[in-house]
Symmetry: C2
Subunit: 488 residues, 2 copies
Amino acid sequence: MTSVAASAPPLDQSLVRRIRSVVGAEGLFIDPDQLLVYESDALTQYRHPPSAVVLPRTTEEVSLVLALLHAEGRAFVPRGAGTGLSGGALAVGGSVLVGTARMNRILELDSENRRARVQPGVVNSDLTRAALLQGLIYAPDPSSQSACTMGGNVAENSGGPHCLKYGVTNRYVTGLTVVLPDGEVVELGGLEREPEGLDLVGAFVGSEGCFGIAAEIELTLIPESEGVRTLLGIFDSMEQAGRAVTDIMARGLLPAALEIIDSETIRAVEASIFAAGYPTDAGAALVVEVDGVDAALDAEVAIARACCLSAGAREVRIATNAEERLALWRGRKKAFGAMGRLAPDLLVQDATVPRTRLPEVLRQVGEIGRRHGILVANVFHAGDGNLHPNLLFDRRDPDQVKKVEAASKEIMEVCIRAGGTITGEHGVGFDKRAHMPLVCSHEVLRAMARLKEAFDPLGRSNPGKVLPDGYGPRSGAGARGAEVGRGT
Amino acid sequence: MTSVAASAPPLDQSLVRRIRSVVGAEGLFIDPDQLLVYESDALTQYRHPPSAVVLPRTTEEVSLVLALLHAEGRAFVPRGAGTGLSGGALAVGGSVLVGTARMNRILELDSENRRARVQPGVVNSDLTRAALLQGLIYAPDPSSQSACTMGGNVAENSGGPHCLKYGVTNRYVTGLTVVLPDGEVVELGGLEREPEGLDLVGAFVGSEGCFGIAAEIELTLIPESEGVRTLLGIFDSMEQAGRAVTDIMARGLLPAALEIIDSETIRAVEASIFAAGYPTDAGAALVVEVDGVDAALDAEVAIARACCLSAGAREVRIATNAEERLALWRGRKKAFGAMGRLAPDLLVQDATVPRTRLPEVLRQVGEIGRRHGILVANVFHAGDGNLHPNLLFDRRDPDQVKKVEAASKEIMEVCIRAGGTITGEHGVGFDKRAHMPLVCSHEVLRAMARLKEAFDPLGRSNPGKVLPDGYGPRSGAGARGAEVGRGT
């Protein structure tokens, strides 16, 4: 599970000079000490130091940098804030890391047409903060939203707690300025996302950095809800919480969020400095949030409350002001931080199963944890069946690492048997590419490889990600001296 | 504008025998009289009789038929109900038409997980009718929903009046069984639409039949709304109606539909047997529909009403029962039929502009019509800026045809100058492919061609559509004796 790559070949001096002339001295790191920071993303089990880190500031600089790398046959890895959980920004095989940290400008905010145009390094919550001044928000809200960047959100097609109602990133991206792996700049989409012709924007969003670099992103903003109401249901068992979710959806409510926190997580949160006042003997807690026109919300809250009670909730708390609302959310938002108390390392699994299979899958996940002696804590987007089992361990203990590895694989298999998939919203990246044949046939993997080839015929953009070995563009990833120029 | 292709080369006898052995005698038409029915779709200006029509019943039959055509180097055109408005199902260049008329079974309806699996020939409204028995609906509702098929909806990424709130087809397609142009069957996606790996489903939806045939489609259903309320605002001018739309959206309401009908259309409807009781001296009518939890709707209706009145509505009618609701909708739903009274032929333009540019674009569209002496009637999805100017004419008069052609081109140019696109929801098809360079750069068109090549390397699936001349897979569309087998 833990792997550290052999150190990557350094760039030659003339390439260093040419890149530096584009991005300036502060835009290129080649000192091994500086590179150390970039050797992994938020999936810390794997470490691959890049051969260099380049930080362009503009679309033009991205284009010039990729053209220089292309001419030298060097592969590159796009990187936002490095918050990814699937190793998507690992610089495998001597790749050059191209970071967007200096591309953090909001280029345009057109409140009348509810559109924004941003550079890829803009932080998700900074965009919403700027939009709020005009009464608008950017809807997808990954848990890492205070750090993760819009370029990374596009690459991963990111979701978040509020995506049950508002949908994930691809619903909001209307246009992209993409720098292809050879440095060519193309404008995809634009305006409303009913694309003319084939849907290149749709193909690019979620491509995990394998198609090039989105150097500018055009997005739809939505109006801030007039009102929002949050309630917390406390249940004796996970089954009851699951039933409440099913009932709420069956009544036709579409809450902005429906989040379940399991008993392990509740106890971890309550033992931490983030204590949210959840009863520590509860079997599960359910956060329900509805938003919309203020006058309509009381009725929706009443329905959600009734569903919780009839499913067996021992208690339903309703926030009456912003402060109480934050308190109800605290157990969910701080869950990951609180788990840090229980073990130094945490593997967040990410899988989606049909909503009706949740109780049974959760039972099996619990059994797998117990059998391997690994503590598993669950917080998840219950409304759309997206599970996040957290496997707690200490990576300094090779025996625990082995157990986590085995448990993690079994959890994936359980999800697949239940009709689910191996990734809900964190992507395939480096971590799960070897498991792709579990869920995709040879023909589908070949079609994916051809799709990648349409954007990246030489396999230079984010090599070693998503597609398993044996599926990829014709030339080796990052191979120096590979044939330059398109094959056709 | 009117074009009739030279008659296509017939299939040779051995191919006819082999296809017939797959689909049976009732599954193959080669008699010119039978083929006449298939020489155009709902865009009747163009006529291209196919060389044969094949009607498979199952995925396996589709696969066998495409493999036979592939081996002979014949191109094919997928066709649903032929309701398309961009000539996407025209059998140009001697193509074989592969119709889905006999693939009309709903294979699975899983109400617990709100999913359906259907064959591509299932009619849109038949799916909703079946789902309603379980309290569910299929959300996208094209105007042609009582005839158009799910395969066509996937090909065109279809919208409809209620897509303002509910989104278009790509939000609902979770999986596809696709038969590639060489007959190979691949399973794409499945379950919740957070695809693992590259998003092949996203790339396929909206590909206008150019990537192969979707032989099975897995869809998300949503619960029928508990309640629905409809109101109709009558305005003296289009500007007022436009302002009401802007205000309603700014208040944070997300109506299920926001549809504007202009004065020409109102008069056409009122003069027809569909008379809906709209005042014939009105400048515009606005249909607003909100749906959701019943208890919340009165508040939303009150807000919508207030927005209409403050924008200057002379009258606001609110439906109090299902019958009144249908009456309010009548002017919108029957608009196309009523226009038949005004002229024998109708060209529906389809363009999207930023919502705030609507009043100005509508004024220019009116001027263009007057200058060419062509009557233009507008009904449109105001909430998302999707215009449908209807150009009324008589195609037996070559002079009128020329004027409509010129006016249509000018309308497109106006929309593009306003920051819009040339297609909102009807696709590029055959009709608009020559205009693609107006909105896409050479690099983007090349990227689209590469994307098509990933699915259809020999250019056999729906030749002569979407991409303009000079952009396409390496071999000629429908060329007999072309190289067989993939190039790489």
